[in-house]
Amino acid sequence: MSEMLLDVRNLRTHFKTVKAVEDVSFAIRTGEVVGLVGESGSGKTTVGRSILRLVEPTSGSVHFDGIDITQLSAAAMRSRRKDMQIIFQDPYASLNPRMTIGAIIGQALDIHRLALGNERDARVVELLQRVGLSADHRRRYPHEFSGGQRQRIGIARALAVGPRFIVADEPVSALDVSIQAQVINLLKDLQAELGLTVLFIAHDLGVVEYISDRVIVMYLGRIMEMAPADSLYRNPRHPYTQALLAAIPVPDPTVRRPPLRLHGELPSPINPPSGCVFRTRCPVATGECAERVPPLEEVSPQHFRACINS
């Protein structure tokens, strides 16, 4: 068993009155891919950004390679980011439209003073080829590329500085399904070749299953369930995970999805329900669920869930 590269403890990120992330703890081993899933308002994106300190956590700790990065100065954090990169959902919004692809990728090398002159140019070409683009592409601008190609550019930029850890925040949800499969396969190949550690954030449970070793399910700022991918998909133990999986339309007209047992909508993160935050929509909630926050308990090896009733 390899060592923990990332260890998040009691992470809490509030935006004024909005409790976006509430007491989230998990760890990721070196070389592991962890999927983080949830619907809008679950806090999954905020967890990813808090870990990189793109937003400042309100409390809790984030140990990366043994160092609590929430305590680092801004300058120390900047140099740490060489090890920790992010891939965004919308590749277009994250690429400067006035810069060529070569300049965008080269800029990442310049910031961390990683390569100069011919070496820099050679590295840019190598990165482009690695993500399935060609050397000629470095002279073009972002608008000349399709969505899938732009996401490849985003990946090349993230890889430029040679990171050990990557937060991939909904990297394929803006892409067509045939292109989505190309990008997922690319990410899987790169992860295996480079031994990357990845936090893969997505709302699509299907996509997450294909890339993750372990999966964390969040709801309204808290972790509901956390388990090895096989175990989570075959034997979901939290009523929310069960509902989420049951809600996915199956591409087979002979399958009749069971009627939805989940009613209503996500409560406000400004004033979340007491006790279990899921209880207001839960089909098995009892009076007790309102009284205390259910702890994340291990129900089978490495399979954790926060529910007192299932």
Partner: protein
């Protein structure tokens, strides 16, 4: 056999018949044809799913049907669109407005494109009823509340007084559906109506649409990129690629025997949670990109990305032909591939 989910009126003439539709957009760089040679029909009360990726022409087709192509760039350059006997491509602007008000309802991906942000939602539904159904103010207001109840909005009386921003995405989409169905249309055009919603809310909206169809009996043209949603909603399916129909069949037939290589590849590229062993398996991607509509491509539009393409596919355009029992396919090699 799949049971049709809508209340079909068998033997009656189809509600919609589209023949050789061609849509043209004139841009600075010349003209493009995002939809060409498109023919299909919709029976009364049935759900036809139109499925495809970006650039397939599915949304442009919907806009053409509703007479809402952006002017002056876009226009119907050829073919006919018959709705309940009338040719929409030749209707006056006033007739189209009347039809959009009473005959055809529309729901788009983003509910705020259909809602006025500064008007209470009850008033928005009532306004439509006053304009198109001739109801007076009081009756329209009462009927608006009834419609909100019909789309299962809790406390409809109170919700009618809300502005759109006070509602969640799922509730806004329910309001848009209430508005679209207020005048009892025969056709509902739903263009990616659940794509912007979370999966549990999507499940609620799909269930609602099925229930409303059973109650009201309207036909639905359901436009989506999601084959899971297709399997759940459709009676029949039309697969689009690069502005053309490439496969058409009943939903059961299409998923059991997909004939067009594009449809097969699309089905294989979906990550599926309903099958064991998905974890860490490789997805079957489709290589390359959707073709650029500005570049005329000889032969089959899918051939540059097709794993089964032969020399012939690059030169001669395939016909949309019946492979049996009304299962249409646009592929020169479907016979060999089916064997």
């Amino acid at each position: 056999m799949p049971i049709p989910r809508g209340a079909h009126a068998r033997g009656a003439s189809p509600l919609v018949v589209v023949r050789d539709l061609e849509v043209e957009f004139v841009t600075d760089g010349g003209s493009v044809t995002p939809v060409g040679g498109l023919s299909f029909h919709l029976e009364r009360g049935e759900t036809l799913a139109m499925v495809g990726e970006s650039g397939s022409g599915k949304s442009v087709t919907a806009l053409a049907l509703m007479g809402l192509l952006p002017r002056p760039a876009g226009r119907v350059a050829g073919g006919s669109i018959r709705f309940d006997g009338e040719d929409l491509a030749r209707c006056s602007a006033a007739d189209l407005r009347r039809l959009r008000g009473t005959g055809i309802g529309m729901v788009f991906q983003e509910p705020m494109t259909s809602l006025n942000p500064v008007l209470k939602v009850g008033e928005q539904i009532a306004e439509r009823l006053r304009t198109h159904a001739g109801l007076d103010r009081r009756r329209a207001a009462a009927r608006a509340v009834e419609m909100l109840e019909r789309v299962r909005i809790p406390e409809p009386q109170r919700r009618a007084l809300d502005y759109p921003h006070a509602l969640s995405g799922g509730m806004r989409q329910r309001v848009v559906i209430a508005m679209a169905l207020a005048c009892g249309p025969k056709l509902l055009i739903a263009d990616e109506p659940t794509t912007a919603l979370d999966v549990t809310i999507q499940a609620q909206i799909l269930e609602l649409l099925r229930n409303l169809q059973a109650e009201i009996g309207m036909a639905i043209l359901f436009i989506t990129h999601d084959l899971g949603v297709v399997a759940e909603m459709a009676d029949r399916v039309l697969v689009m690629y690069a502005g053309r129909a490439v496969e058409e069949a009943t939903v059961g037939e299409l998923f059991a025997h997909p004939r067009m290589p594009y449809t097969r590849a699309l089905l294989n590229s979906i990550p599926r949670v309903d099958r064991d062993g998905g974890t860490r398996r490789r997805l079957e991607a489709i290589d390359g990109q959707v073709p650029d509509p500005r570049v005329a491509l000889p032969g089959c539009a899918f051939h540059p990305r097709c794993a089964h393409a032969a020399a012939l596919c690059a030169t001669a355009a395939p016909e949309f032909e019946d492979s049996g029992m009304g299962h249409l396919v646009r592929c020169r090699r479907w016979r060999e591939l089916a064997a």
